[in-house]
Amino acid sequence: MAVAAPSVEGPEFAEKVRRADEITRRLQESNWDFDAVPELFTRAATCDVVAKEIVTIHDGRAQTLLGRLVMNGIGEEFQLNSPSSALNITLPGRPEVFKEINDQLGSRGLEDFEEFQGVKDIQQVVFYDFTNFYQARDLAFWSALYDCGLSPSGFEEFSRHLAAGKVVTSMRFRPSRPSLDSRPVYVQGFTGKRFPTPVVEWIPKPLFGGIAPDTLHLETLLTLDPTDLAHPFLPLVAEGAVELDGRRYYMRRFAGTSAKAAVRGPGVGPEKASDQ
């Protein structure tokens, strides 16, 4: 999502907070129907992950996810939401991990995709302002405060995760050269997270952001024990062993194009208020 972070402080910011709270209360009092808060609807195509390289390290008790995310967006500042375990710890990104693994495999990572060759002029970004939303109203409030809008179906999707006891983790990023017209800019950032779980938990399909309906997807699973576990959608492209941080891991790599959720037809706009 493109965001418009408050550019004021002091009493003026307090007023923005009151306004966002009023929108949130109006939404809640209207059975969470967005028709009561038309200003909260997302307005246009804004931001999507177009390619991602994920390293999933599972040690039998916890899972560490390291991500290289390539996104395109129209706007000056953006935000990504993702469901996470309530025990999730956000880690700094580790760009060197991708190089270390790819060097051992004789791979160039995402650059191995022919389709990725056309992605030029990628700006490096850092992720910041990591925030957790614990209730649906937190998500609505933040979206109202940062004027980034929500789609009702996306809101319902995150509400289901929240009902199951997950949190929604938000992070922001800003390219140094923003998109000032309808042409999206490409950016790349690195991120990480870790949470306890005895089983591998694949990342759910991301929601369509209005620009890229699918994702070039490279996923590398590292385990301490041998495994024949496979990614649910991506074909296996390599298998073996790698060393990372002084440990030897069994490795399975999956690659392909993965679909996003909530994709609409080409030329069809985002969800909007009902015709009155």
Partner: protein, 528 residues
């Protein structure tokens, strides 16, 4: 049944897959209402989108989740990989005394059984069925072993296919179950496949007795190209027993999958009807009658149901129209003119995609008098609390029959084939006016067939898997949804915002390296 060899790698991290039992990671509490097993029919799809295969033909993995209540409790998965040729079950052919028809048949095509859809359970037995093709597979639940194939018609070269009701009818005492079975006979092109030798089968689940009747089509609905029946129900009135069969009306262009994925002319489905037959043990054939008022709804693909037969003077039927040409595969260019190769959502194989939003009906019949309510609703993003009826799948009454739970698969517009939509111009949605519609679990007031509104949204949950089961009693009940990808979620039936249990395992999601298990349609809870 399948002797496919897997790499039997061991590991302590719970990350190995395979047909041996494995535990799910459980968070929360398995409630005592779910003390038993959840049976699910899953199928396999190739990850390679250039491999085209219909949903019907997709290999079956039957899944039994054994739930042990507690905090967090325990859930163990058992997978039965089904071989559609079932050689060990078709070699020893039995005879059905009443008909003289042989039970087993092994044909080069189509397969005898591919039970990747319907689940029918009594005592310790499961009868799993396809959406349309083949015969039910009988599986012993406790041993999780297949026992036999229920085939009551005799395929031959002229009519090599078999069609069976996916969801059986049950007598009020659940002693007898009823389903339709017929042969499928290809016709010279371009005519679609026709049904022949329509039979109604009765199975006594207490002693295994079985018999079959010929079904005589009702006057005015004799077209055999649409004579297929996805679900049935049974009721008693004035001391007589009746079976209702939902005549879905799928038109099957060919018994085999299309040779290519090209666009082609699509024969139109007729509106669905319900055939009603009175059980007469003294007769060899049963004359069907049309249940009045159903055809006039003008809905497509009447398919799933639940029924309230707590009174012995008729029934209240809850059923849904999918508004989808269910005999067609989603293939070819979509309604936006995109080729399948550029649509990543378009995994290989048939998926049901509706032409427009469907409907749920409540049909009450008391000693010949009837009344009907219809609930039909588009998706309004600005008013999600209203729910919708896009591609209805499951219907299940809560114990006590006061509330009805339903799942709706939603709508993925890029999966609607251009040539299929072109066959139904008056029904098909306008491509530029429709957006994605999320799936939905919704609770209804069973008397009014209106959503059972809760201001906090506790009457619905979006983005849910469509496979669903309700468990409990009149004092407390729960509803669960399941898919390999999303796992199991158990909710309090009173509040669909309140998850009490969530369980998952990556081993549910894939088969080997090349296949995955997409979202199944149905789940059946079997109390311990």
């Amino acid at each position: 049944m399948n002797s496919h060899h897997r790499r039997g790698l061991s590991g302590s991290s719970g990350v190995d897959s395979g047909p041996r039992p494995f535990d799910l990671h459980v968070r929360g509490e398995v409630p005592t209402a779910f003390d038993g097993s959840l049976v699910v029919s899953t199928s396999r799809r190739a990850k390679d989108r250039s491999v085209f295969r219909r949903w019907h033909d997709s290999s079956t993995d039957l899944l039994r989740l054994d739930l042990f209540p507690g905090r967090p409790g325990r859930i163990t998965a058992h997978i039965l990989e089904v071989d559609p040729w079932a050689p060990e079950l078709t070699l020893d052919l039995g005879l059905i005394p009443e008909t003289g028809y042989r039970q087993g048949f092994r044909a080069p095509m189509p397969y005898p059984t591919q039970p990747n859809h319907g689940l029918n359970v009594a005592n310790d037995l499961l009868w799993a069925t396809n959406l349309l093709f083949g015969s039910p597979l009988e599986v012993e639940l406790s041993t999780w072993k297949p026992r036999r194939i229920l085939q009551f018609v005799q395929p031959d070269k002229e009519a090599p296919g078999v069609s069976t009701t996916s969801h059986f009818a049950w007598s009020p005492d659940r002693r007898h179950t009823y389903f339709h079975q017929s042969l499928l006979k290809p016709q010279p092109k371009p005519r679609p496949v026709v049904a022949t030798d329509l039979r109604l089968i009765e199975l006594d689940v207490a002693n295994g007795d079985q018999r079959a009747w010929q079904i005589v089509p009702p006057p005015g609905d004799e077209a055999m190209e649409s004579a297929n029946f996805h679900s049935g129900f049974c009721f008693e009135a004035r001391g007589k027993r009746y079976v209702g069969l939902l005549r879905t009306g799928a038109i099957i262009p060919s018994l085999t999958v299309h040779a290519g994925t090209n666009d082609h002319a699509v024969p139109r489905m007729p509106p669905s009807t319900i055939w009603l037959v009175e059980i007469d043990q003294a007769s060899a054939s049963l004359q069907a009658q049309l249940l009045p008022g159903v055809e006039q709804i003008d809905g497509l693909a009447l398919s799933h149901l639940d029924v309230d037969i707590s009174r012995r003077d008729g029934f209240i039927l809850y059923a849904n129209f999918k508004e989808s040409p269910v005999g067609e595969e989603t293939h070819g260019r979509n309604i936006y003119g995109e080729e399948p190769s550029v649509v990543a959502e378009h995994y290989p194989g048939m998926i049901l995609e509706p032409l427009n939003y469907g409907a749920v009906i409540r049909y009450e019949w008391r000693n010949g008098d009837w009344s009907m309510r219809t609930f039909k609703r588009p998706y309004q993003p600005g008013r999600t609390s209203l729910g919708h009826t896009w591609l209805p799948i499951n219907l299940q009454l809560e114990p006590g029959n006061q509330r009805l739970f339903a799942t709706f698969s939603g709508f993925r517009p890029r999966l609607v084939s251009q040539h299929i939509a072109a066959a139904y111009p008056e029904r098909s949605v306008e491509p530029t006016a429709v957006t994605f519609v999320p799936s939905l679990l919704m609770r209804f007031d069973a008397r009014t067939l209106e959503p059972d509104y809760d201001p906090n949204g506790g009457h619905l949950s979006y983005a849910e898997p469509v496979a669903m089961a309700v468990a409990g009693d009149r004092t407390e009940s729960f509803v669960c949804t399941f898919s390999p990808e999303a796992g199991l979620h158990i909710y309090r039936a009173d509040d669909l915002n309140h998850v009490v249990c969530q369980a998952e395992s990556p081993m549910l999601m894939h088969w080997g390296d090349d296949y995955f298990r997409p979202e199944p349609a149905h789940a059946e809870f079997v109390p311990r």
